[in-house]
């Protein structure tokens, strides 16, 4: 007795259509497959932006729909990156070690190769042993499984502890910040087994594909990122579209009432938190091969706060809002911090955007939260309302507690 999924969610088809068009255009204009108007580095930036849009969808699910202001989702994003980075780095180093040992008179033993890899990878942190956590690093399949399971497990355990004791609101946000901070500090240590502050590097090179130019690889990753984003959007729309979404939005608006309807609120929060952690991890696993390097600074608490800012600016509680926010703010941010934005000479002082961009971002965030809590996505209501009046999505207003907290962090 329900209209089809796409009939109820027209934005899904529109979104996937636009995403496909975008991917096609970038491919046609890229250096690898087309006329070469779009440089490889720009293709990578766009591909990375798609990954950021994907984690923004995760953030919107957990915050905009379920009301959990998680300020720790970049921890899952980073962990996803580390998991795939381990395989990329291990296999590539192995290829290098094998080819350098090939000139030796005797064929190298497995132990020699392992030692070589250990010295190559862990020399910078004063080690030569391959730590036990790299046990599966030679298997792409195993590391792909870990991309999903490690962040998923962390979210499950963290969420279980936090939700079970009914921590909510600002306290929960602070807990998530503590989690991501603790993880970052742990990874900064040299004996964490993940190369301390050096992080993992050379991730843009795919093992065994040395002959394929970066221009081509960047397009592959663009496709993969676009596919993941499209799929993520579809899954998210499906999750929030039905009765599950109803319950989750109910939890956001009045958690106690949902309990008295007989729903176990904590389980729902745990499902949403873990699911979004997994989406974030997949986004991270696609992002870092395009970035080429990952280090613990990526997991710093501020990254997760930016994520909340993107979603707030884009308009939380609607999936396309999150995507627009992430794409818009991160691209504009790249433009400003990349030194491309012209300085503004005021005579007595020159505004250099590299320094002042954060101030501008903070200001826009405050303004959006105060004046247009629907965010950029709210603009769409202006014309969709005329067509389907009953669809007017009245979002939740900004909650003052979270606002002040983020202002303080800025």
């Amino acid at each position: 007795m329900q209209r089809s999924f796409f009939m109820r969610n027209p934005s899904v088809l529109i979104f996937i259509g636009l995403l496909a068009l975008f991917t096609l255009l970038v491919t046609v204009f890229s250096e690898a497959f087309g006329v070469g108007v779009i440089s490889t580095s720009l293709v990578k930036t766009l591909g990375k932006t798609l990954c950021l849009c994907l984690i923004a969808i995760a953030m919107d699910l957990v915050w905009g729909y379920c009301g959990i202001l998680s300020l720790g989702h970049f921890a899952f994003f980073g962990l996803g990156g580390y998991m795939i980075g381990m395989w990329l780095m291990y296999e590539r180093t192995k290829a290098i070690v094998v080819s350098s040992l090939a000139e030796a008179p005797l064929p190298p033993t497995a132990d020699e190769i392992r030692d070589g890899i250990g010295t190559q990878i862990f020399g910078v942190v004063g080690g030569a042993e391959i730590p036990p956590i790299w046990f599966f690093a030679d298997s792409l399949f195993a590391q792909l499984v870990l991309v999903v399971t490690i962040p998923g497990l962390l979210a499950l355990i963290f969420g279980w502890l936090a939700f079970r004791s009914r921590v909510t609101g600002v306290y929960l946000s602070i807990l998530t910040q503590a989690m991501t901070l603790a993880l970052a500090l742990y990874l900064f240590q040299n004996d964490s087994g993940l190369r301390g502050n050096n992080g993992l590097s050379g991730l843009q090179n795919l093992p065994g594909l040395d002959d394929v130019p970066q221009a081509t690889i960047s397009i592959w990753f663009l496709w993969a990122s676009a596919f993941a984003l499209g799929l993520g959007y579809l899954v998210a729309a499906w999750v929030v579209g039905g009765k599950f979404g109803s319950v989750v939005r109910g939890i956001r608006d009045d958690e106690a009432r949902v309990r008295f309807l007989g729903y176990h609120v904590e389980s729902y929060k745990l499902v949403v938190f873990t699911l979004t952690a997994i989406i974030a991890a997949i986004a991270g696993a696609l992002y870092y091969p395009q970035a080429g390097i990952i280090n613990p600074a990526e997991i710093a608490p501020i990254a997760s706060i930016y994520l909340a800012v993107w979603v707030a600016i884009g308009g939380r509680g609607r999936l396309y809002g999150a995507v627009i926010g992430a794409a818009f703010v991160s691209l504009v941010s790249t433009w400003f911090t990349g030194g491309q934005a012209p300085d503004i000479p005021l005579g007595f002082y020159t505004i250099q955007w590299v320094d002042w961009w954060l101030v501008l971002l903070g200001l826009s965030f405050v303004l959006v939260t105060l004046l247009a809590p629907q965010g950029i996505g709210g603009l769409f209501d202006l014309f969709t309302n005329r067509k389907t009046p009953e669809r007017g999505g009245a979002d939740l207003g900004p909650d003052a507690g979270s606002l002040q907290e983020k202002e303080a962090e800025q």
Partner: protein, 246 residues
Amino acid sequence: MSTLLEVSGISVTFDGFRAINNLSFQIGSAEMRAIIGPNGAGKTTFMDIVTGKTRPDEGRVIWGEKSVNLLKMSESQIARAGVGRKFQRPTVFEDQTVLENLIMALKNRRRPFSVLGYRRSAEDVGRVEVLAEEIGLKAELPRKAGELAHGQKQWLEIGMLLAQEPRLLLVDEPAAGMSPMEREQTTAILVEAAKTRAVVVVEHDMEFVRRLNCKVTVLHEGSVLAEGSLDHVTANQEVIDVYLGR
């Protein structure tokens, strides 16, 4: 008639203030009961205890044929066991449509993964439409609950309560903000519901209580002051002193 809910000797203290004081209460499985009493008598707190929102310092709350201990259960477990509650202020999900509100309340499996795979069946929509007809909101099904008038929200909440198909309904001041006509309709619905289940109604309006035509429990300072027919309790001198006489 078998006892559905048995509350015995419960007490609750908030910051040294005894809101409930050695209260005992029983209700059968198909019975209507009105609870009256002055402001702050502990009527809402009593409902909080039965629904698991507030834990009493002492006492027992026993439920059903199997005599399960409600005090050991979480709010959602108690609700699934068959206790439905209507709050003093209407609390519906304003950002969702009337239909979504009712579908959410409809008795069905409540686990996350069952809900994730849930599809609206013709049967469920039928049930919701019958309910919506009953509470006079059939035409409002696609509207957001937040757009409804205060009285309509009360109705929606009553509808959600019925959709849960509880064995015990706890109704806190249902008639507040309703017109005389609506009050009459509410009475009819509650009386109808009490034929097959237990209904506890908290109400200040004596006319309303009279129309319910049921046994009345008078609460005062956290314990039962009097119990019996409305005429019986209103003739009680203590009741007149603390409640009616003011």
